[in-house]
Symmetry: D2
Subunit: 342 residues, 4 copies
């Protein structure tokens, strides 16, 4: 009989608890053995709620446990890179939430340590595991769209995050559009060469005062000549708007929003349906399960990670390029941000 | 801290294992303590797979365990009523798969024993917990449709069951349309007075030889004057077709099929989408979780069962009336089948 | 150069004016030469509005004009059969609005006169020329649905007609469902053998007092074993609801309502679209043009009429059978209504 | 009784004949009195086909006819401005196909002459009269979207035009995206300040050799801060793709493609619908009728033209700015193209 794997959760916030619950209830032959959080009470509560045997305030106690096979880095972004390095050195397989860091040097150094250590690394770009996006990618892979020509991604949140978060998150291109940058690479299967960013403050002037925009539209030029456009808004009153479209020489695929039901109401004034699923915890729940399932599988079967360290780095480069483009009001090549892009 | 409840599973087939898995992984503060099956090897395998401590060939061992709070009757239909009686006498709360029995006397007797015992009873009409049907019912309850006038239900399976099953199941009106009879009562919130059944053998002549039809259309007349129509087919080549529509004085609500994704492909010949989710294990998975969640909740909080014994009996009466209508080629009142319908 | 054909319009009401306008503006090489109406002022106004050279109170003046090639019988239903006979005897090709008559003897006699005369006859079942229904029929003809098994037609008006009309129209089965009876025969391409009708008074008690129902559901059994269901309501608050569905051994086709635009609005409470096109003048305008285009073509090219006299008779037989079924609360065979159904 | 107006058609090509037919059959109290074409045989055929009394090779004969109230300039683009000036001097109201010219000086001069003459001028941006775009604009005007933030327009042709046309048309930004530039102004109700254009040759290398791109994506920045994106392709294998979306502070409206029917086919492999209406003559036929109806109305009632000379100029400025942006690989302000933009 297969040995049961042990996981450690670093960071007992919303996303850490989500992964812990999925590991304990939705994935076979694995259990969460320990959870840590700098706020030890959070770790304790998480352990109690999910039946996790051990909890710590210091993640290093997890890394020192020889029974633990893999860790999930769900702490605040500024700690990701250092924990990743430590985990790699401790020989633990790593699932790390995005972004690895906002600083490319930190990312490069951490990825180098991981690579030398030989542990598995998967970055938490969960949308790659969503059935809509995956279906578009599969259609492309099956040749149903021919050669891609145009990519369009729409991503709008139901409400802006707290202004304190905006101040430290790196801004809309690094905390929000980063998912779409990853999706662009995932769908097209090629690297972006250049970005051109437009932005406006339309939702909340405080976001502007914090030095960010809340409405953004970025044009992407891929190496293979595909042209793409991503639009983001911090606030769509109708909920979480998550759509993509790829147009190619033989066809076009586009995804619409997921809804809680497929009921249509015809009344005296209109024909209507319910709003889209409201935010990422509802909209993307299946993708969170699937990404962790595949991570556990890649560890068990020693196969390549479906979202590599490079996949973690490039969207950060794209986000930094978009920021520079907006600031300098001109198209910016990714090589202006990092020369280390093979 | 809340005491953990214990459940026993009687019948380790597909639906028994489904409920056991959901109880162990998706519902808090309950665990499956024992499973039984007349084929003891099935019980053993189920126990191993799902980490259930005990397994038996005889369900009475479950009923004798004082630690077990509730049982799930998932054995073959002909055993439901007797087990239900025994479980009620043993003071166990009962979740019973549909139908209770094909024989009304058996149903009446079992329900009487249950009622006297005071245990909770829920019948496994899972579709009531599906988000589409629930949304329609909620719209009716909220007055969005006004007074209902017309009901339409479409229910078509992707492929017919084995002919051996058809021979013992009671036929299309009792093994398949029974779900739609329940749904009709659930959506309209009133009792059916009369049915008129049409049928044809279109899918497989063997079904006709077995004395059944594979294509059926039943007209329902409710006590409140609502007119309804249900159509069934044993085989829809495009998959599992599950739709409902209620038309009323102020509006109309209709549900469409669920699909695995919301992607549309525009190619040189057509605009297309993927087929509906193919069969009940995929299509209704969330409803199976929800029905068991609500059953556990009704036990814990001592509130009424959302699907009562009466809800288990009436669809059987309707199925028997439909059979009689088809045989005698005339509308049949439910009172011709059972006088005990208050 | 082709000779310009001349048409005469008998009855200057809404539908007569509609056909006249289409003949004068949408169809090549034909013009309306004369219009008649028992209310001569109506004929005069129609002539002035549409530039028709002649107008009369007596339709016989139209029939006596040797230059007139064809007549459009758009007068009140009770006059159709007599005018049809007179027109046939005068050697005029005939487009006759539905129904030919409510009395089968009248229909049979008129059709016999037409047949002997050799003139073309087309009955005004315009929905056959609608792009939605035609698409379903074409899919069937192309074998895309395999052998048909189940037919479903929904037909609901935005508001009931005046109660005075209901009293003389023959009732819901003859003035409203008659279109659906025709559609059933058109889509399935086979004859109905038996009907079973249910009905209720849900919209307006005055309709019940007039001896009619306003909500109806009819089960059809075709000779080839197809089972069908038609539902009608005199009042859908969301507008004109016109849908059909055919389910067969290889697939299913269904049509949805037409709308004025394809715009979807996502607001804070719902995702909505505009209501369906509100009534037959908007919804079916293209089919009215197409039916007349084909009638003119059948005259010009001496090809068979796309909607024959038989097509005019059968829906009346079905309507009378449905009335009898509702009255006697039992299934009624069409042969109980007319023996002359080859 | 109202006097019948007389129209003259200048240019008997596809679009000239279209307007002539609509004027003669779909609009009351107007007739086409004369048609001219440099290829006199084309004018003669058009006159014969549509029953136009007079035809000429020289448009000046139309301008000299005192009975003619208005002219439709449907000749080749390079002749529009000169004919417009002559028509204005002759006191004829002018409906002019787009674009007025590719040269801004010509446009400015022609518009000046028109303004001084006091005749009505309407530019043929027919899409403004399409029910989908108009519905979006009406929703904005009604405040349903709040303040607009993001605009997206997709416009893809079923097949590229002949390469000879591409060489003289001004290229994709002036012969194709010009419609979308107009639509952007129409929907948002504000002026564009700056454009940034990306482009690629993906459909046909000959288009690249002719100095043009066949795949283009342009970012628009409006004066009011709205950000927009327009994507064009010369070839969508699935037909004519015409969609728009406006996202605002209170909601989002988006239009989908029009189709010939609303039938959905569920087969063994997919659920499918027919392709969009294939090209502008089918897709936009109603808008062509509506634009001419409104032009005739603006002449009759002496009300402002719904598409002014300024509306004809601005999209040309935007097209020239997009060309410059693509050539110089940088955002370009409209004031770099023309200073005369109040």
């Amino acid at each position: 009989m297969e040995r049961k794997l042990n996981a450690g959760i670093i960071g007992a916030g919303r996303i850490g608890r989500l992964h812990a619950r999925h590991l304990n209830t939705r994935i076979a032959n694995i259990r969460v053995k320990a959870v840590s959080d700098v706020i030890v009470k959070a770790a304790e509560e998480c352990a109690a709620e999910l039946g996790i045997p051990e909890y710590y305030s210091d993640y290093r106690q997890i890394l020192e446990d020889p029974q633990i096979d893999m860790v999930f880095i769900c702490s605040s972004t500024d700690t990701h890179a250092a924990i990743m390095e430590a985990a790699a050195r401790a020989g633990k397989h790593i699932f790390c939430e995005k972004p690895i860091a906002l600083d490319l040097d930190k990312i490069d150094r951490a990825l180098e340590v991981v690579q030398k250590s030989g542990v598995k690394l998967q970055i938490g770009f969960n949308r790659r595991f969503d059935s809509n996006y995956r279906r578009i990618r599969d259609l492309i892979a099956a040749g149903e769209l021919g050669e891609p020509h145009i990519l369009k991604i729409t991503s709008r949140d139901p409400a802006p995050p707290p202004i304190e978060y905006v101040k430290v998150s790196g801004g809309i291109f690094l905390d929000m559009m980063i998912h779409d940058f990853d999706m662009a690479r995932f769908l097209i299967g090629d690297e972006v060469e250049e970005v051109y960013a437009s932005g406006a403050v339309k939702v909340d002037p405080k976001i502007g005062e914090a030095g960010d925009v809340d409405t953004a539209l970025v044009t992407l030029t891929f190496k293979n000549g595909v042209i793409g456009s991503i639009d983001n808004s911090r606030q769509a009153v109708y909920g979480y708007d998550q759509r993509a479209e790829v147009f190619g020489s033989r066809g076009m695929a586009r995804s619409d929003n997921n809804t809680a039901n497929r009921v249509q109401l015809s009344g005296p004034e209109r024909v209507s349906e319910d709003l889209p699923l409201n935010f990422f915890m509802e909209r993307y729940v299946d993708s969170y399960i699937e990404e962790v399932t595949q991570f556990v599988q890649c560890v068990k079967e020693d196969i390549p990670s479906p979202v590599s360290g490079k996949d973690g780095k490039y969207p950060v480069v794209m986000g930094l390029a978009a920021k520079k483009s907006l600031a300098e009001h001109r198209p910016v090549k990714l090589t202006e941000i990092s020369l280390d892009l093979e």
